[in-house]
């Protein structure tokens, strides 16, 4: 398929996944802020979503205070913030428009419909609707898009590049979510292992829809070690890092071309570490440090994928002439 098309599909699905994940992040921040009674501390909770998504800097350039209203607006509705839900929905729709000849009409209709509804969303409507209900809507649209995609698209390269985009974005997000505890206020000493700690970790699990899975897998109380193990190393949790990289690695093997070896190698290296790593080892070096490394290598892989498959400006090798 066309390099430009592959690239657009990849970014289309990254944008959809990003909108969903931003909703998940905001939802967990919102839930956590409800656990805190002190209004000042409540506002403090809203640093977390900015830190997680790495958008504290652009945010503080335009807002002087951090509170639920400002952060929600910035991350959900702000058209100037390129990673807001609004901007992601708009971008995903633009991407879909550019590859309309490749995706199914059902896929296009979902993204176009989402955008038309998103366009009409403002702060008043958001609060009238209810914050959680809005996040549910965003997640539902993403679920719908995934379902429609699976149910309608041919299993060709278009599908593969779409999937790589989803898993690259998701791996990035899960790692960031897991790091959330590093960014939220640490519970006071007496709270460690206590109620707040418990609610915060369970909020993380719920944010990636893994709370019930945790119960099924461990049949145990919620501990940081096990939450991390579930979300980093398990191969049967669809939002775990290992699960994402199994997909990414396998897809890269399928779509490989003459220049993509390095991308496949990097993905394979990350996947192998997830396959054979232990959670004790990860914790001994520090979870935050581990996740920071992981995000860096995922970012490098993204650049490599771009170079191998999407870069239409590369001069064409002499081999092309023989084709």
């Amino acid at each position: 398929m066309l390099s430009r098309t592959a690239s657009t599909l990849y970014w289309m699905s990254r944008n959809v996944e990003r909108a969903e994940n931003t909703a998940r992040i905001l939802d967990v921040a919102y839930r956590m802020s409800l656990l805190t009674k002190d209004p000042h501390l409540q506002d403090q909770e809203w640093f977390a979503p900015l830190n997680i998504t790495g958008t504290l800097f652009p945010f503080s350039g335009r807002h002087s205070i951090v509170n639920s209203k400002e952060v929600l607006h910035f991350m959900a509705l702000d058209s100037e913030n390129p990673s807001s839900i609004y901007a992601s929905a708009k971008q995903a729709r633009e991407n879909a428009r550019a590859v309309r000849g490749t995706i199914t009409s059902e896929m296009w209709e979902v993204l176009n419909g989402t955008w038309l509804e998103m366009q009409n969303m403002d702060e008043d409507r958001l609060y009238a609707r209810g914050i959680s209900s809005f996040f549910d809507w965003v997640k539902e649209r993403s679920h719908l898009f995934r379902g429609v995609t699976f149910g309608t698209i041919r299993r060709d390269e278009a599908f593969q590049f779409h999937r790589i985009g989803t898993y690259m974005e998701r791996a990035d997000n899960t790692a960031r979510m897991l790091d959330v505890k590093y960014h939220v206020l640490l519970p006071s000493v007496e709270d460690v292992g206590g109620a707040v700690d418990y609610y915060q970790w369970s909020a993380v699990l719920r944010s990636v829809s893994a709370f019930e899975s945790y119960r099924k897998v461990y049949r145990d109380v919620i501990t940081p070690l096990k939450v991390a193990e579930l979300l980093v190393l398990r191969d049967d949790i669809p939002r775990s890092l290992r699960f994402c990289f199994q997909e990414i690695y396998e897809i890269l093997c399928k779509v490989q071309n003459a220049t993509s070896f390095e991308a496949t190698r990097q993905a394979g290296e990350i996947y192998a570490a997830l396959q054979f790593g232990t959670i004790q080892h990860i914790f001994s070096g520090g979870l935050h440090e581990y996740l920071t490394d992981f995000l860096d290598s995922t970012h490098r892989l993204g650049i490599e994928i771009d170079k191998s498959f999407f870069d239409a400006t590369v001069p064409i090798p002499a081999a092309a002439k023989a084709a």
């Binding site: 430009r4 000849g101 176009n112």
Partner: protein
């Protein structure tokens, strides 16, 4: 012109329903108005959701607009359509023969049937094409022939579009919409189907491949998603299962065209291009074109790739050559034209120019090379000021203008704010030339939604209707 002078597609002069509208009229009488209103709203919603929009040039905001769809169909009796289709076939065959001729022996010019200078000096004439053989001798693979019906109920050809005619996606979507909203109408009578158009087009393009290529790789080349017809480009590419490419996706090496794919370069054999000659190759034509592919003309002239439509077709659909199409039909086919031409005054010609300037308020004056309804003067609807300004433009470069009598375009009932009211329409059938001439029955009906307006172009506030050929 009084309203009663117009030919009404649905009603006889005495107000009775024409027989071919019988089934529709019955349905209209027996369907509760609420249901019709509901379905009209449903149509709007569906078009929005499907995203059938067109971009409007020169509007900074809201560059995507929905094309208004009217649910009252334009119905044409089969017998009448069969006559029209014979005329279309004849006309397009002659136009293709003319194109082949002017780029080869130029017999028609030597015979004096068409003034040689009007062809050779025409800006749409491409000297690059002289002596180039195109597969099957076909130049205009896809032609859009605009037809109107005058007060006498007779069809006239208003203009030929042989470059990159657009609108066929609306024809297909309109039918899909009508079948979805009003299936009972299709059960009540036999309406000829149109949804095989993409198959016919694909077949036409396959047959246009360079000699010796059995299983050609075909692509549709678009200027990109800011183009007004981008929706259609994407739609047709998808319907035919071919790649939708932009200039940046293609490159030329050793006179061969390749597209950049995730699996490396892939050879391209046929390009259905929806981009004007001027922009296809910055090496050969406009050097500032960012949309084209450097070297494309070299590959084309070497016969390694087919462009559909061919380069240089514009010389045959230029409005200054339009008056000569009947002569082309007689010259190449030795037949009398089946479809009539509208009488055309050539401002290049002194006698005609004087007549035009003296009768501006009766005539439609247009630029010979304009399209899309931009830059024309509709005399009866113009103000004194507008006429004065237009007169100056004509006097500055008379050879660039032509004029035609203002036709009393037929009207078709159309839903408006005040209920059903007659609105002017035209019809654009899409004619495919390959091994033989092919088309789907009917065409795209465009309707001027403003009361009294004669301009049906979507860029000028026109809407569309489904077109039914009923047996």
């Amino acid at each position: 012109m009084k309203p009663d002078n117009f030919f009404n597609e649905m009603f006889e002069a005495d107000g009775s329903v024409r027989p071919h509208y019988g089934a529709f009229a019955d349905w209209l009488d027996n369907t509760p108005p609420e249901k019709i209103t509901q379905n009209r709203q449903a149509a709007d919603l569906l078009f929005h959701r499907v995203g059938i929009t067109f971009a409007v040039y020169g509007e900074a905001t809201g560059t995507e607009r929905l094309i208004p769809f009217d649910i009252v169909p334009h119905v044409i009796p089969a017998a009448q359509w069969d006559r029209v289709s014979a005329g279309l076939k004849q006309r397009v065959t002659a136009l293709n023969a003319f194109l082949h001729d002017v780029y080869h022996e130029q017999k028609i010019l030597k015979a004096g049937k068409v003034p040689a200078n009007m062809v050779i000096e025409n800006s749409q004439f491409r000297p690059e094409m002289i002596g180039i053989d195109v597969p099957g001798g076909i130049y205009a693979h896809v032609a859009g022939i605009d037809l109107v019906k005058d007060a006498d109920g007779e069809y006239y050809v208003l203009e030929d579009n042989l470059r990159t005619p657009s609108g066929v996606s609306y024809l297909l979507e309109n039918r899909k919409m009508m079948m979805r909203l009003f299936p009972e109408l299709f059960a009540a009578q036999r309406i000829r189907p149109v949804d095989h158009y993409p198959d016919l087009l694909l077949e036409t393009l396959r047959n246009a491949a360079p000699v010796g290529i059995d299983n050609p790789t075909i692509v549709l080349m678009t200027p990109g998603h800011f183009n007004s017809a981008y929706f259609e480009h994407a739609f047709l590419a998808q319907q035919m299962g071919i790649e939708l490419v932009e200039g940046i996706d293609l490159f030329v090496a050793d006179n061969t065209v390749f597209m950049r794919t995730t699996q490396g370069p892939k050879k391209v054999d046929v390009i259905y291009r929806r981009i004007d000659d001027d922009f296809i190759d910055p090496e050969a034509f406009r050097p500032d074109s960012m949309l084209g592919v450097p070297g494309l003309m070299r590959a084309y002239k070497a016969g390694r790739v087919t462009l559909a439509n061919a380069v240089g077709t514009g010389v045959a659909d230029d409005k200054s050559l339009y008056p000569y199409v009947p002569a082309m039909i007689r010259f190449y086919l030795d037949e009398e034209p089946i479809l009539k031409n509208v009488h055309t005054y050539m401002c290049a010609n002194k006698v005609d120019l004087d007549y035009v300037l003296a009768h501006m308020e009766e005539l439609v004056i247009k630029e010979a090379q304009g399209s899309g309804g931009y830059g024309m003067l509709v005399g009866p609807h113009s103000t004194k000021d507008e006429r004065a300004r237009y007169k100056q433009r004509v006097l500055d470069a008379p050879e660039r203008f032509i004029a035609q009598p203002t036709l009393a375009l037929s009207v078709c009932p159309t839903f408006t704010n005040k209920g059903l009211a007659p609105r002017h329409i035209d019809l654009r059938p899409y004619v495919l030339s390959g091994r033989g001439v092919n088309f789907v029955p009917g065409g795209l009906t465009r309707v001027a939604l403003r009361e009294g307006s004669l301009v049906v172009n979507s860029s000028q506030g026109g809407g569309v209707k489904d077109t039914w050929i009923v047996d």
